[in-house]
Symmetry: C2
Subunit: 271 residues, 2 copies
């Protein structure tokens, strides 16, 4: 496995790292094509915003340079970038004058079944709910036990993803994807100010849809709203878009807005 | 620093560990006196219960043996035991047939000011609230960003601890302590089924108080209930008990029940 720590090839990390102790950090999962990170600016922007919120004093110029060099060496695959607050001394108080740690891990692209994108996927209804914590919402931070528990709820290959609600019953996202729905030609996606991860593909699709004149609304969505949608789809920065065709007994057909955005996501990920 | 991984002296950890990737694990912070871990059975019981809830297949016999050997080598100090689900492959799904990882770190006992225990401490009113997540409540898991954010709210030495409320405004705990209050001779501590860490010293004090005929109630407590208390104190497994003497302008005096339980905690930690 290709692995760098703080810019140097290394697969072992200090046990004092606060990423391990407290999940005190953030990560990005980045598709890499022919040595080039896809949606680089969006990944950097989200990482920078997350570091600002967590008061992690990261030099984004350094991280960007390391990611670009790492991607060139990786060629084609997935680069996972983890940024932690660095080594801890004792206790929760963020230490002063400690440099944030950058960890890069390279891998191959996940081999998802082609039918996920072509025919759509079936959603598993996760019982694990997302807690409402506005201070952490939207960030791709390292506190991911809710996703671990949700993903452990099903093992069968019939369900490619799981649907996660918040503790109040609102529809939020997939376990490793964001969720969109279309109704009467309008694109909707859940507001993520209470919980959820604001994905870079979600941000890109919202921008692309608006540029094509599609009306977009970011708002609270209930289970009823989901079931009444004309089209439903998932997205993330590795697979692009998967139409959703079923949740338990409810079924949706794959619609034109989904296919149009899917083609755009495909172009982004294949270029 | 004394540091063992999976029973062997080692200070470096695989970057693939899911403790780093997702905070997918648990920890215990254990006082060690003359080579003996204090409140060992309570620490082991909590760790075992947490592993069961997170579906981590840990062999407690192995962990106990490692902790005992590690403590003998440490002598006097603090042993931090981290258990993670082990190395990850890809994605949130817990991998099968992966052995949980045990990490032991040794340190000296924290040098808290003596006046914390003697005169009591002032609580900082943390703006960071605890999200309500019954699936994770009570466990000492590795998803601790809320505590990191809360502890970053104050730097002055005047406040030894911070008070954390949940997102509904209930009183829950300190950033690294549990909270008790006494009213009319009855001992109260917040119910931790929605959020919070159920400390081993909290469990021990509840058991000890009941054995001395003190009525104990574990229940929801509002800010009003806290302000109306006759006595307020904090506890954890390293410092024992600190009386609370102030929260902003509100003041409490140090009462007899606090002193009685403090003596019991002292005996436990010094023996």
């Amino acid at each position: 496995m290709l692995s760098w720590i703080d810019g140097r090839p290394m697969e072992l990390l200090s046990v004092k790292d606060r990423g391990l102790a407290y999940g005190d950090g953030l990560f990005e999962t980045i598709a890499v094509n022919a040595g080039i990170p896809v949606l680089l600016e969006r990944h950097m922007a989200r990482l920078g915003a997350g570091c600002a919120r967590l008061l992690i004093d990261l030099d984004l110029t350094v991280v960007r340079a390391e990611l670009l060099a790492f991607s060139r060496e990786l060629g084609d695959g997935v680069a996972k970038l983890i940024v932690t607050r660095g080594d801890g001394v004792r206790g929760y108080a963020p230490p002063k004058a400690v440099a944030p740690r950058r960890i890069l891990q390279g891998g191959t692209k996940p081999a998802y079944p082609v039918c996920n994108a072509e025919l759509g996927v079936r959603l598993f209804p996760c019982a694990t709910r997302l807690a409402e914590q506005p201070l952490l919402a939207g960030m791709k931070h390292l506190n991911r036990l809710e996703q671990v528990l949700a993903r452990a709820e099903w093992q069968d290959a019939e369900h490619a993803e799981g649907l996660m609600l918040d503790t109040s019953g609102r529809v939020v996202e997939g376990v490793y994807s964001n969720l969109f729905l279309c109704r009467d030609g309008v694109l909707f996606t859940p507001d993520l100010f209470r919980c959820g991860v604001a994905g870079v593909m979600r941000a890109e699709l919202l921008a692309q849809a608006e540029s094509y004149g599609v009306r977009c609304e970011v708002r609270d969505i209930g289970l009823d709203g989901l079931l009444q949608a004309d089209e439903v789809f998932l997205c993330n920065s590795l697979y692009g878009i998967w139409p959703v065709r079923a949740l338990q007994r409810h079924q949706w057909s794959v619609g034109p807005l989904t296919r149009k955005l899917q083609a755009i996501a495909c172009d982004l990920l294949d270029s």
